[in-house]
């Protein structure tokens, strides 16, 4: 391509200078922002994870692999890592199952309604996660609304909170809009005529969905699942509030390590391990999904 371009005599546009300046002008702020508030702290954390934790003070500038050894050698951390991924996976699966029909109806709603339905869908995001978690506490608590109702019918007391169930309810509630939005975006690009074509060729509604609509919505499913999984893996407030300390997930342990135990090197190493395994899982997922979406490679 480059060779081809070179053979064509393109007059250099005189506008290049000022235009280039504009691009730089527009892109520099975000680069500076990311560098200062993301890259540098992150690099610092990577660096920190290889340092020694002395008895006194935060860290010693001395290289060690001990933090990783402690993290990866301890079944306690493995269990928490597994829990974290398992809850995230469940959250992703449940938001997918609940979010897909929601997205489908939004995408297929009359145009003049669609905007309002989208506003309705994201309206829970207007309320902070903390407030919503307290809302769930009122519903799910030992003497919460649900338990009172069950009891009034003579039922047993249900343990709905301060366990994995409570965490997953909270996570699903918070991340459902992200899933539905991603899928609705993809579904909107699929012409209803494509489904009609499948039906006309003899496919039942279910087969038309499975063979055509579902496949074509995979880019949205991919984006949604990725987004929700990553958000769920790193969620901290909901597990704290709805799981108390009965259920541990990695972000909680990392924060405890950094703030309560004042062990910055080990906390950093834990964060790196979580990051590493998340990237590994995502890499596998991307590979699988790319195969399923081969047709999108243009």
């Amino acid at each position: 391509m480059a060779g081809l371009d070179a053979t064509v005599a393109v007059p250099t546009p005189p506008a290049r200078g000022p235009r280039f300046a504009w691009v730089v002008f527009l892109i520099v702020p975000i680069i500076v922002f990311l560098a200062v508030f993301f890259l540098i702290p992150y690099a610092n954390m990577v660096y920190m994870s290889f340092l020694v934790k002395p008895a006194e003070g935060a860290y010693l500038k001395q290289f060690t692999l001990e933090n990783y050894g402690r993290t990866l050698g301890d079944p306690f951390y493995w269990r928490i890592l597994r829990n974290t991924f398992w809850y995230s996976l469940l959250t992703t699966a449940i938001t997918l199952v609940l979010g897909y029909p929601l997205a489908y109806h939004i995408a297929r709603a009359p145009k003049r309604w669609r905007g309002w339905l989208l506003v309705l869908l994201i309206s829970p995001l207007l309320v902070s996660v903390i407030v919503r978690s307290f809302g769930w506490m009122i519903l799910l608590g030992r003497v919460g609304l649900i338990n009172q109702l069950v009891k009034s019918y003579g039922g047993p007391e249900l343990h709905l909170m301060y366990n994995a169930f409570g965490i997953i309810v909270g996570l699903v509630h918070v991340y459902l809009p992200f899933m539905a939005l991603s899928i609705a975006g993809a579904l909107q690009t699929i012409s209803p005529d494509i489904e009609r074509a499948a039906r006309s060729l003899g496919a039942s509604p279910w087969r038309a969905f499975w063979r055509v609509t579902w496949r074509l919505s995979l880019p949205g499913v991919f984006a949604g699942t990725l987004l929700v999984f990553v958000l769920a893996v790193s969620s901290y407030v909901i597990p704290i509030l709805l799981g108390a300390n009965n259920v541990l997930v990695m972000p909680m342990v990392i924060v405890q390590m950094l703030l309560d135990a004042f062990n910055w090197p080990l906390g950093s190493a834990l964060a790196m391990v979580l990051f590493g395994f998340t990237v590994l899982l995502l890499w596998l997922y991307v590979k699988i999904m790319n195969r399923a979406m081969r047709w999108t490679a243009r």
Binding site: A198, A203, L216
Partner: protein, 350 residues
């Protein structure tokens, strides 16, 4: 193959009546076009026949079989959409094989049928391409092949050529006509393009505001339009308003502000509209109905000259004549037309 009968078919969307008591009988193997401006109900009609919309009233029959409430997948139809609606995640081969797969065709037979239809639409060698790797014309042919390979009872085409460029569109008209004849398949073709309708259709069903305006061959509709709207929608026309003053020898004499004209036609009484096509108006006084006017404008169209002539009482006439005689703008001229070329229609109520 099957005939199609629509009986009092009606579809309402909230307060809008999209299709209003439509009655239509389409013979086995016939190609009929639903022609009309956008919003006339032609696409809604097609969707009801396909099973994608349910009518509020009325019935649809394929042959003797009522299909009004049948799911689309049970109707045995082939459909081609304006945007082709090819499955973008499937290759050409998979697209065409889809309908046969749904019918659980045996693999060997399936391969044979797909290969045969690919050859028929001249796409052999393109099997493994995706739709985005095809030109508009090729996508169009894949869509046709996909619809035809299952041997549908009825073929429905929804503005299938609207997205093609003018030259290809012209070619495809004849191609579709040829394919339809070869398969002998009952076909409903929706379009807003009258030239397309005239080239393709055995009969044209002209629709406006959900109502059938006229049903007939292209020639029928052109020569004997049922009302002024039809006359203006199909081809160019000179419409002259008047009242029936008398009748003799199967002819009507119609009084207008431009004179009294002898016209063909029997039944009409009262207020009428005379339709004279631009090529039926001749310079000179050789025909009994004469109008005197002044050339307003002249346009050269290659095979003919297109004149606008100012007649009496604000009447603007369109005359298309062969270029052998030329009249400059401002020239006073006589134009005349025979009574056989003057078609009388009832003036519509509105």
């Amino acid at each position: 193959m099957a005939s199609i009968t629509l009986r009092d078919l009606t579809k309402r969307f909230e307060s809008l009546v999209a299709v209003d008591r439509l009655n239509l009988e389409i013979q086995e193997g016939e190609l009929i076009t639903l022609l009309g401006p956008s919003g006339c109900g032609k696409t809604t009609t097609l969707r009801m026949i396909g099973g994608f919309e349910t009518p509020n009233e009325g019935d649809i029959y394929f042959g003797e079989r009522p299909v009004t409430w049948l799911q689309p997948e049970l109707r045995n139809i082939g459909i081609v959409f304006q945007n082709y609606a090819l499955f973008p995640h499937m290759t050409v081969w998979e697209n065409i094989a889809f309908g046969l797969e749904m019918r659980r065709e045996a693999p060997a037979k399936l391969r044979q049928r797909v290969a045969a239809i690919l050859a028929k639409v001249q796409l052999t060698g393109m099997e493994r391409r995706y739709s985005h790797q095809l030109s508009g014309g090729q996508q169009q042919r894949v869509a046709l092949a996909r619809a035809l390979v299952v041997n549908p009872a009825v073929l429905l085409l929804d503005e299938p050529l609207a997205n093609l460029d003018a030259k290809l569109r012209e070619e495809m008209r004849f191609y579709i006509r040829h394919l339809q004849r070869e398969f002998g398949i009952t076909t409903i073709y929706v379009t807003h393009d009258q030239a397309e309708a005239m080239v393709l259709a055995d009969r044209i069903a002209l629709m406006k505001d959900g109502r059938l305006q006229q049903l007939g061959s292209a020639e029928d509709i052109y020569r004997r339009p049922s009302n002024a709207w039809v006359a203006e929608f199909i081809g160019l026309s000179n419409l002259i308003r008047g009242t029936v003053a008398g009748r003799s020898d199967g002819q009507l004499s119609v009084r207008t502000t431009a004179g009294v004209f002898a016209c063909a036609g029997e039944g009409a009484t009262g207020d009428v509209v005379i339709c004279v096509r631009p090529e039926s108006l001749h310079f000179g006084q050789q025909h009994p109905n004469r109008i005197h006017g002044i050339v307003h404008e002249r346009v050269f169209l290659g095979n003919l000259l297109d004149y606008q002539i100012d007649g009496p009482d604000g009447l603007r006439l369109r005359v298309q004549a062969d270029p052998s005689r030329v009249f400059a703008p401002g020239t006073p001229v006589d134009v005349s037309f025979s009574s056989a070329d003057a078609w009388v229609m009832r003036a519509s109520g509105s």
